[in-house]
Subunit: 243 residues, 2 copies
Amino acid sequence: MSFELFYWPSIQGRGEFVRLALEAAGAAYVDVARQRGAHGGVRAMQRPMTASDAERPPFAPPFLRHDGLVIGQTANILLYLGPLLGLVPAGEAERLWAHQLQLTIMDVVNEVHDTHHPISSALYYEDQREEALRRAAAFRAQRAPAFLQWFERLLARNPAGKAHLLGGALSYPDLSLFQLVAGLRYAFPRAMARLERKVPHCVALHDAVAALPPVAAYLASPRRIAFNNEGIFRQYPELDGEG
Amino acid sequence: MSFELFYWPSIQGRGEFVRLALEAAGAAYVDVARQRGAHGGVRAMQRPMTASDAERPPFAPPFLRHDGLVIGQTANILLYLGPLLGLVPAGEAERLWAHQLQLTIMDVVNEVHDTHHPISSALYYEDQREEALRRAAAFRAQRAPAFLQWFERLLARNPAGKAHLLGGALSYPDLSLFQLVAGLRYAFPRAMARLERKVPHCVALHDAVAALPPVAAYLASPRRIAFNNEGIFRQYPELDGEG
């Protein structure tokens, strides 16, 4: 049975980390909220969360339905999908390490979100813009370099080579690091132009992942939602610092 | 071989979710940074992160060393420890659900942290107090109720009874929900006094976990670091709203 992904239909957001894994593996899946008709749309996406008889409703999207399971939390979905899609090496040590990498990427994603929403997700950006300016400055100066330089170090120290985070083959953390670099480039083009000089292995990994045939085909397809200012990575030039 | 926990020695913080699991299971462990001598202290705690030959250094504490593995990210540590300590039911569905619960608790923990540090962890609270007042108000009004009412719903819908999050026995998410309620009580006593009336099952679970003999013994021991204003849960009365 194919995978059913439940996520907002108009943004990449956290769901994109799952979409990329499914696409890179060539897996059959349904992006529920992007379907037309009674079984599609946002209402269908929300039903497993809001149904009054749901024993284990997820707190928030994304979540995945497959094989009788409903699995929430982005990193947890990838923990489940990794072995099924051949996107993680065998063995407990490798799988825990892959998951640790993914959880750290999700930490960066949370921090990126809070650069434009440092006070509340329930408020407009414009109503927390002053705070966003301060938070984004700290993110650009300290957090983005700390995280990317950590990934850079891991790539440099991978005994199987600098092309992958785990061993010598593609795994789901590679796909997620691609997405992180792509998103940071969209949101902080000036800051990233400077930072990328310090993390060449991360940049090379981004480029190599983008060139993988199934990923390249996905990125060129209408299934890839363009970055926009409703998602996690948003382009507010004033949050990108001085030129 | 016993477990080695690497975490800051003077706060509960994220490490406390791991300490509680180890203590509840009666596991032998070493809290590395709290040991004296050459193999203890903060420097020993940081070594696996900073060693220039570490192939897989964690990004941040807490991390656990056991059986040749170094495992970072709080929820990942508990994913690993759950089966070893008998703190999660058997079966993939149960383990993914337990992990999903834990990841959502860690999301709340991040949000609690940001109530007092909405701009940057590198700045003092006093230098982001105005922003903290706004963020804490949104947390008290929207986020804390949304998260706790979700856990309340899960407890009410557990077919094995309202005393546990998973099935009819103690699991690590129960321990973490105990810690979350305890921390919120410390940080937001006035807001929690109101909110607790809406989440009686969460409160009952907190009380039942605190009364478990190994947990009660731990909480009464010097191993339990008191809540303080260096940790995640901090008591700044101005962040707790009106009385």
